[in-house]
């Protein structure tokens, strides 16, 4: 383990935050955009470097560890950063989507661009921090740091219903975050480790063990809190509304990366620390996810007429697969979820980006008012169709491996639910392909003809192409070389878990 790599990790998180502060202090706009571009790029380069340097073995399977005390050392809170095999792919995902969202924001020409960039940079720094935190308090802290700018961005730059959406988003997500915070504090208090450090928590629980009943209620608390944040049915209603209103870059970062916080928390924290508690809830979680997220929301998605709402619902639906993978409580299930999180993060960010590009050309999100755009913008059409294919889970894209692995794990858990989940793929194929067809093929609607007569649509320019290319290249790379994700994940998941965490429940 190289100490300078640990400092690089700190640098990756600090760069966007420092850049945000500098821009907020009144840097002129010319320099601000350049600085922001640099601040979005540096974490990506560092993430790639750290990924290439990731050791096969490390203490507790963590690499690049570093600890900074902020004054709460007495309470076992310290800024402990590091990456393990589960965190590494997520960190890479955050860096990639952050870069794409940042580049897209730079060209978006949003009103008050500097404030927009400041908020986006804070969000990016928070996201990188979430996945690099070994200390579960800072894991939560960075999540909130990234969440607050989302609310403000929806409120200021949001589209339709932005006030209502911002308020609903804030209340739902604060409630979810508060519940998860209680769950995390409960782990801290009950484990007896007197530390929020995940490694020490694991050791303490392996040594002492948590009673089954304690695990049950902590598991319930965490599932409820994380479930709200990840839009588990029926707590999902903020998601389509929020994504429908959010500006593109915020939607990309939130749907693509920030929403994975809850799932990541379940895999990284809950499964190793309170497996019995999760087992207690596994069937309920699986039923909610399969029937609610996959089936019900799947049908609701089919009924959507608004492109962005449809994307919002489809992301809720895909979260159902992730929950199913977690409910399996198996190594292969968790591994599949990490794969799926990375893949879905990339593909949904790409779809939100393209949806906004479509809106720039059609001036509407209403699917019935579009059509025939492919003749005028073939590159955009090609990107969108590819992103749709990825989102459905066609082989060649990363999503395929994620879904496949989850289904394999799910078959052992319950063949019936597997059937439901596979049916969900058909549903997502129906709405995905239908949306692509409505937007790009067939005759153009009257409204669209009127709009295009006034503003003849141009194809994607390179500033839009570049972020889209970054995302699609990543999707294809992981699609053809899934080992890049599966190897570190496997290394972390196959590590011995605290032995059965026993003591019968009383």
């Amino acid at each position: 383990m190289n100490p300078s790599n640990a400092q690089l990790l700190q640098l990756a998180i600090a760069t966007p935050l420092v850049a945000a502060v500098i821009i907020a202090c009144g840097l002129p706009k010319r320099f601000s955009t350049k600085l922001a571009a640099a601040a979005f790029t540096v974490p990506m380069l560092i993430a790639l470097w750290l990924w290439s340097q990731f050791p096969a073995e490390g203490a507790h399977n963590y690499a690049y560890l570093s600890t900074t005390y902020t004054g709460l050392g007495n309470f076992g809170i310290s800024l402990k950063l590091g990456l393990n095999g589960i965190a590494l792919p997520m960190f890479l995902l955050a860096a990639t989507v952050g870069l794409a969202a940042g580049l897209y924001a730079l060209r978006s020409g949003a009103e008050r661009l500097k404030l927009y960039l400041v908020l986006l940079l804070i969000m990016h720094g928070g996201l990188l921090g979430v996945f690099a935190s070994v200390d579960i308090f800072f894991f939560y802290f960075f999540h909130e740091l990234a969440l607050i700018p989302t609310f403000i961005m929806v409120g200021i730059w949001g589209g339709r219903d932005r006030n209502y959406a911002a308020m609903k988003l804030t209340i739902y997500l604060t409630a979810g975050a508060m519940l998860s915070l209680l769950g995390l504090i409960a782990l801290y208090v009950k484990s007896g480790a007197n530390s929020f450090d995940l490694i020490e928590l694991k050791d303490a629980i392996a040594a002492g063990g948590l009673r089954g009943s304690t695990q049950n209620w902590i598991g319930g608390l965490l599932l409820l809190g994380f479930g709200t944040l990840v839009s588990l049915w029926p707590l999902h209603t903020w998601a389509p509304l929020g994504y429908g209103a959010a500006p593109s870059s915020a939607a990309m970062l939130h749907a693509g990366v920030l929403k994975k916080f809850g799932l990541y928390g379940l895999i990284q924290i809950a499964i190793p620390l309170i497996p019995l508690g999760l087992q207690h809830w596994a069937w309920k979680l699986a039923l909610l996810a399969a029937l609610g997220n996959v089936l019900v929301v799947g049908f609701v998605t089919m009924a959507q007429r608004d492109l962005k709402q449809m994307l919002g619902y489809s992301s809720v639906m895909h979260m159902g697969y992730c929950f199913l993978g977690i409910a399996c409580l198996s190594t292969i299930g968790s591994g599949g979820v990490v794969m799926l999180m990375v893949a879905h993060g990339l593909s949904v960010a790409l779809l939100f980006l393209l949806a906004t590009s479509i809106h720039h050309r059609t001036h509407t999100f209403d699917l019935s008012e579009m059509g025939g755009l492919a003749q005028k913008t073939p590159v955009l059409a090609a990107f969108f169709v590819a992103a749709t294919m990825a989102s459905i889970g066609l082989p060649g894209f990363a999503n395929f491996w994620g879904e496949l692995t989850v289904f394999v794990a799910l078959w052992k858990f319950s063949p019936a639910l597997t059937a439901v989940a596979v049916a969900g793929v058909v549903i997502s194929a129906i709405y995905g392909l239908r949306a692509a067809a409505r937007v790009f093929f067939g005759p153009a609607s009257e409204q669209l003809q009127r709009v295009t007569a006034q503003h003849p649509p141009a194809d994607l320019d390179w500033r839009e192409k570049l972020p889209a290319l970054i995302l699609i290249v990543a999707l294809l790379f992981f699609g053809f070389y899934p080992k890049a994700v599966s190897q570190p994940v496997d290394q972390a998941l196959a590590a011995p878990v605290p032995a059965a965490v026993t003591l019968p429940s009383r």
């Binding site: 902020t70 006030n163 409630a175 209680l182 208090v189």
Partner: protein, 505 residues
């Protein structure tokens, strides 16, 4: 108190231990003298004298925080006891009064109100607050408390030509007198149960904290003393605005001048908690079995009442008042937790400091946004604030965000420490209530940020009435003060060592 004692006190240097209070009181008197002596054109300098005096005392107390200038902690025949907590309280009240005076330099000229008396009373109240936190004797306690309260009676109705201010003053007077009566009755009941004047020895002085504590240790189920303790707690609950003694809060907060509202919200509340912590740990500790359920009930009801009633407020001062009630509820959780988790007392103080920073920043913005009449300030007046005064908009967002407990701001750290203490004390029911309260509070706090930041990016509809123009923004001193408050709020969110190394060693 016998003459020998007074002689002994005069011969020793015990007076010096109360130096800060004495200096502040002397400064208060010299303000009046200066007004008489100085020519009228120099009167503008008098408020700055008050600010400088407070600042210097603050720095001195801070410098001598741990070493102190006194040899023993119990002084003046047991009237005064200086502890780390009382030193913390002194610093808190000095800092708070300094900021209140800063707010007054904004508000009083706008309202064309007389100035010097205001600073005079604020300084007197400050000295009394500092004594209150060090009281170790019920008579001392009551005298200091009444000095504070009477000062507030005047301050609340300071705009004596405004009906709302007078109404607020009257309401505060009537209810304050009622609470003082309750408190005094409680003290008398305790004295009756504890004291035996005819007997020499430990029970001779039934007012002294240590005597009461000893008595309660021996007789924890004495009905008279328990009833007295509960009445005393009731009187203190009036100060902190805890349910069911919170009914005065919205009207008084609305009618009082903004600096006084800030003074009530921060110092008066903190004084209540300083006293409450002293009382429950140094006097009423043996009554834990009674106090814990009572205080828990109080905390839960306070949180729910404060948040639910703040939900529909459009007037910013009422909003601050009612949300302040809910903050008192969170702090009461800390007090309850401190029975089993000793460090919870430090957490309460940490929370109070974060609350001071955030509240003063928000009150500062309110003072700048309000026109000459500050009692009718509505959320709608914040439209376009972020666009026309981006600095004030940012200060408001950070201050309100910290009050709401949004990470990474200081207020979140305060709530986190309280919740962790509550968890360790197994107060799961209270935690659930607190979480519900926090989520409710997001709605109204966020609504405030929304009116400042989101509402008005679209131009007003043609033909709509022209919006009220915003008053002038802060000058450099105001900018600097607000910037320091905001900077401290953000810094404490990331790096808590400056406070924790001192409050939670």
């Amino acid at each position: 108190m016998s003459t020998e004692l007074l002689k002994a006190v005069a011969a020793s240097n015990e007076w010096w231990a109360l130096g800060p209070e004495i200096i502040v009181a002397c400064a208060a008197l010299s303000l009046l003298v200066m007004e008489m002596v100085l020519p009228k054109k120099d009167h503008y300098a008098i408020p700055y004298f008050a600010l400088v005096a407070l600042g210097m005392v603050l720095v001195t107390v801070g410098m001598y925080f741990h070493t102190g200038w006194h040899e023993q902690d119990l002084m003046f025949g047991g009237l005064i006891r200086i502890t780390d907590a009382s030193q913390t309280a002194r610093l808190f009240f000095l800092l708070s009064s300094l900021l209140v005076c800063f707010l007054a330099t904004i508000c009083l000229p706008r309202a064309r109100a007389p100035r010097v008396e205001f600073y005079h009373i604020v300084l007197v109240v400050t000295a009394a607050l500092m004594l209150l936190a060090q009281a170790n004797h019920f008579v001392m306690f009551f005298v200091a408390l009444e000095t504070v309260t009477i000062g507030f009676y005047i301050l609340v109705s300071y705009y004596r030509e405004r009906s709302l201010s007078l109404e607020a003053g009257l309401k505060y007077l009537v209810l304050g007198a009622l609470s003082s009566a309750i408190l005094l009755f409680g003290i008398v009941l305790i004295y009756g149960a504890v004291g035996r004047v005819e007997v020499d020895g430990v029970v001779h002085n039934g007012f002294e904290y240590a005597t009461v504590l000893n008595f309660l240790r021996e007789n924890p189920d004495n009905f008279l003393a328990t009833a007295g303790a509960l009445l005393v707690i009731g009187g203190v609950a009036f100060k902190i605005g805890a349910f069911p003694f919170q009914i005065w809060v919205p009207d008084v907060y609305q009618g009082a001048p903004t600096p006084v509202t800030a003074f009530l919200a921060v110092s008066s509340k903190a004084a209540g908690f300083a006293v409450l912590l002293t009382l429950v740990h140094q006097v009423f500790a043996p009554l834990e079995a009674v106090l814990v359920p009572v205080l828990s009930l109080l905390a839960a009801a306070t949180i729910l009442f404060g948040n639910l009633s703040a939900l529909t407020q459009r007037n910013t001062k009422r909003l601050m008042g009612l949300s302040g009630v809910s903050h008192a509820g969170y702090l009461l959780i800390g007090v309850v937790a401190s029975f089993t988790v000793p460090w919870a007392q430090g957490a309460v103080w940490f929370y109070l400091f974060t609350y001071l920073l955030a509240s003063m920043a928000v009150f500062g913005v309110m003072a700048y946004v309000a026109g000459p009449d500050d009692s009718g300030e509505e959320l709608d007046h914040y439209d376009r604030l972020a666009k026309e005064r981006p600095f004030l908009g940012a200060v408001l967002a950070i201050g309100v965000g910290s009050l709401a407990g949004i990470p990474p701001l200081a207020g979140f750290m305060g709530k986190l420490l309280l919740f962790m203490a509550a968890f360790q004390a197994h107060l799961y029911g209270l935690l659930a209530v607190a979480i519900v309260g926090v989520v409710i509070s997001i709605f109204y706090y966020f609504g405030w940020i929304r009116s400042a930041w989101f509402e008005s990016w679209t131009p007003p509809a043609p033909g709509a009435a022209p919006a009220r123009p915003l008053p002038a923004g802060p000058k450099w001193a105001g900018v600097a003060t607000l910037a320091v408050l905001v900077f401290a709020t953000v810094l404490l969110g990331f790096f808590q060592a400056p406070l924790t190394s001192w409050l939670l060693p």
